[in-house]
């Protein structure tokens, strides 16, 4: 059918179609995978061996410290002293077990701690509702997380005497409770505020644009630690003598505004990626500015910047540790104060405390990161372009 090299032909007509055939069979299985991914060349092989060597060096001592030699039960420092127990002692988990209530609630009054537990429960319900993509009534869920939960949570923790809930001053709040409150407030406030700022920065109205640019650039130009010090030390100087703002509230607002400025720039990046045709299409159908933003532009823009948003949430979650510097008893601060307890003066107590803190932060941050990956993959599958 095809012309040979000697017979030059300028014309050709197909008489039979070529049927679609399966691709050539490739070697598969774990061995083939390892060869392709771990030992594909001398450089790659070297890296694989190097990684294995590092693991071999790091894993056994870590396992010995965290699990094998660790002490899990005990009432005081004697349980974790090698000279008393007569063998080398790894992590002193007994210390964490004994102090766990302090790590979770700080100095929150013991008889009122059920309120913190209810708060954790409400938070879990809200987060689960919002994060579960197929959950029923997700609009109601958003209302719950952004409006009902903050109000109910505050009333619950701070107390409403009229409802029989005794007042608990924020000075007594502490531990993971404060860390979660600060991060949740930062996250819940920074996303909507950041979206508004991003839209404002792209506004046609010069005044709105100017205000948003100044706000964003101010907060981005100041270190968080400065913001916290200013909130704690300088703010009272500017306010009239009889006005006091709660000492937990001050850094809370500072963190929320600080992260809103970063969020605004992330969201703006997403807005810029949406072609102008989208707003024009929406406008030509008669949708108003807010409708076209809410229904057309933002759903696409936010989807693009999910990695950036989550990155910002993770950074915010870890940055909440800075509030310990201005005298808030967050989780890190409770570990700091527990580790100097003379009842628990043992060689590995300090390391154990920090290891526990690292574990706590890692679980939350890794969880956020994995969830974001899952969302990205699901949205990509739902909307193949």
């Amino acid at each position: 059918m095809s012309a040979g090299p000697q017979a030059l032909s300028l014309s050709f007509i197909r008489r039979e179609t070529v049927p679609a055939a399966p691709p050539p069979v490739l070697v598969s299985g774990p061995l083939a995978w390892a060869r392709a991914n771990l030992f594909s060349g001398p450089g790659n092989t070297l890296l694989t061996l190097l990684a294995l060597a590092i693991l071999a060096l790091a894993v056994p001592p870590l396992a010995r410290f965290l699990v094998i030699d660790a002490v899990f039960t005990g009432a005081n420092r004697d349980a974790c002293r090698p000279d008393v127990v007569g063998h080398p002692v790894g992590a002193c988990w007994a210390f964490v077990a004994q102090k766990i209530n302090y790590f979770v609630y700080g100095s929150y009054p013991i008889e009122e701690r059920w309120r913190a537990n209810v708060f954790f429960g409400l938070a879990a319900v809200g987060i689960g509702w919002l994060l579960w993509l197929d959950a029923p009534r997700r609009g109601l869920g958003a209302l719950y997380v952004f409006v009902i939960f903050p109000l109910a949570g505050y009333a619950l923790l701070a107390g409403v005497p009229a409802l029989g809930l005794a007042k608990v001053p924020t000075a007594l709040w502490g531990g993971m409770l404060v860390t979660l409150v600060v991060s949740l407030v930062g996250i819940v406030a920074s996303l909507p505020l950041g979206i508004l700022l991003a839209l404002g920065r792209r506004s046609q109205l010069p005044l709105v644009r100017l205000v948003c640019v100044i706000f964003i650039e101010f907060w981005r130009g100041v270190p968080l630690i400065t913001v916290l010090f200013m909130a704690n030390v300088m703010l009272p100087l500017f306010l009239p003598g009889d006005v006091t703002v709660d000492r937990l509230m001050r850094p809370l607002v500072g963190i929320a505004l600080f992260s809103a400025a970063y969020m605004a720039e992330i969201v703006r990046g997403g807005l810029q990626a949406i072609p102008r045709g989208q707003t024009e299409g929406a406008a030509s159908l008669g949708l108003s500015y807010w409708q076209s933003m809410r229904l057309v532009v933002l759903p696409q823009a936010l989807r693009i910047v999910i990695p950036g948003i989550v990155n910002s949430f993770i950074a915010l979650f870890k940055d909440t540790t800075l509030v310990s510097i201005v005298g808030i008893f967050d989780f890190i601060r409770t570990i700091e104060s527990a580790r100097v307890d003379p009842n628990w003066a043992a060689p590995t107590v300090v390391t154990t405390g920090y290891a526990f803190a690292a574990l706590f932060y890692f679980v939350f941050c890794f969880g956020m990161s994995r969830y974001a990956l899952y969302v990205e993959r699901r949205l990509a599958a739902g909307q193949r372009r």
Partner: protein
């Protein structure tokens, strides 16, 4: 160049000279009076005067940069004109946002690059505006959308996303999406320019069908076959001005302006 895309001509279709009689009594749909627009110092629209009657089909052509897209985009205020008056269906176009919204509800638009919403299904694309702008109940909006999707011959794609459709199908969805708002006037901004050659005909067929039903249409296009078959008037623009207006028959047979002759000689080989 475009003859192959021409839908089969219906011999029953009224020839151009009777359209003058048909349109003589029709009410005015759009008027433009001495409309001027500048991009910075660049004068894009210069003293444009135009009256479009209800049911009239106008094709606007001209070289790129001649202002034809800008002209129709001024009619639904995607672009702002700086001097002159535009009146759409009795509503004077001013900076008043309420009037702009009113006009946009009357005027549908189809874009060169479809501008479908990629995060919504075809059906959701069609129901979005009826639900949010017209406050139509969802079930009713979906019924309306399915009717128009059936009309553009893609009801079975309703639950797919735009990115899963061919260019021609996407453009037909865009037409259906506009029709769901029951506009009185339809603007087409080079609706077939971004399409593969094989898909031009299906879109033009849809537009011919729309014209047959008496829709008022302003179409910016280089599909001269379409202009010949459907248009009541062909407008030729150059350098922001209307250079020549005529019935398609006279326009193609005997162009009068030198610029028109040059343009036609370049596009009709």
């Amino acid at each position: 160049m475009t003859a192959s895309n021409l839908p089969e001509t219906d011999p029953e279709l009224a020839p151009a000279d009777t359209s003058a009689a048909r349109l003589a009594e029709a009410p005015v749909a759009v008027t433009l009076e001495r409309v001027n627009k500048w991009y910075g110092a660049f004068h894009v629209l210069r003293d444009v005067d135009l009256t479009v009657r209800r049911g009239e089909r106008i094709v606007i052509c001209g070289p790129s940069g001649s202002g034809k897209s800008t002209l129709i985009r001024c009619i639904n205020r995607l672009e702002e004109h700086q001097a002159g008056r535009i009146n759409v269906d009795g509503i004077e176009l001013t900076n008043d946002l309420k009037r702009i919204d009113e006009i946009r509800r009357e005027v549908g638009m189809v874009f060169q690059h479809f501008n479908l919403f990629p995060h919504l299904t075809v059906l959701e694309n069609c129901t979005l505006a009826p639900i949010w702008v017209k406050k139509m109940p969802k079930a009713e909006a979906e019924a309306v959308a399915m009717r128009y999707l059936t009309r553009v011959k893609i009801p079975n794609q309703a639950h797919k996303y735009p990115g899963q459709l061919s260019g021609g199908q996407q453009q037909r969805v865009a037409i259906a999406r506009s029709l769901c708002m029951s506009p009185k006037i339809m603007l087409f901004d080079e609706p077939t320019s971004a399409l593969d050659p094989e898909m031009v005909k299906e879109v033009l067929d849809t537009m011919v069908g729309l014209a047959d039903e008496g829709m008022t249409m302003l179409v910016v296009t280089h599909e001269m076959g379409f202009a010949r078959q459907v248009a009541d008037r062909v407008i030729f623009m150059d350098e922001g001005q209307i250079v020549e207006v005529n019935t398609p028959d006279a326009f193609f047979r005997a162009p009068r302006h030198e610029r028109t002759k040059l343009f036609l000689s370049q596009i009709l080989h």
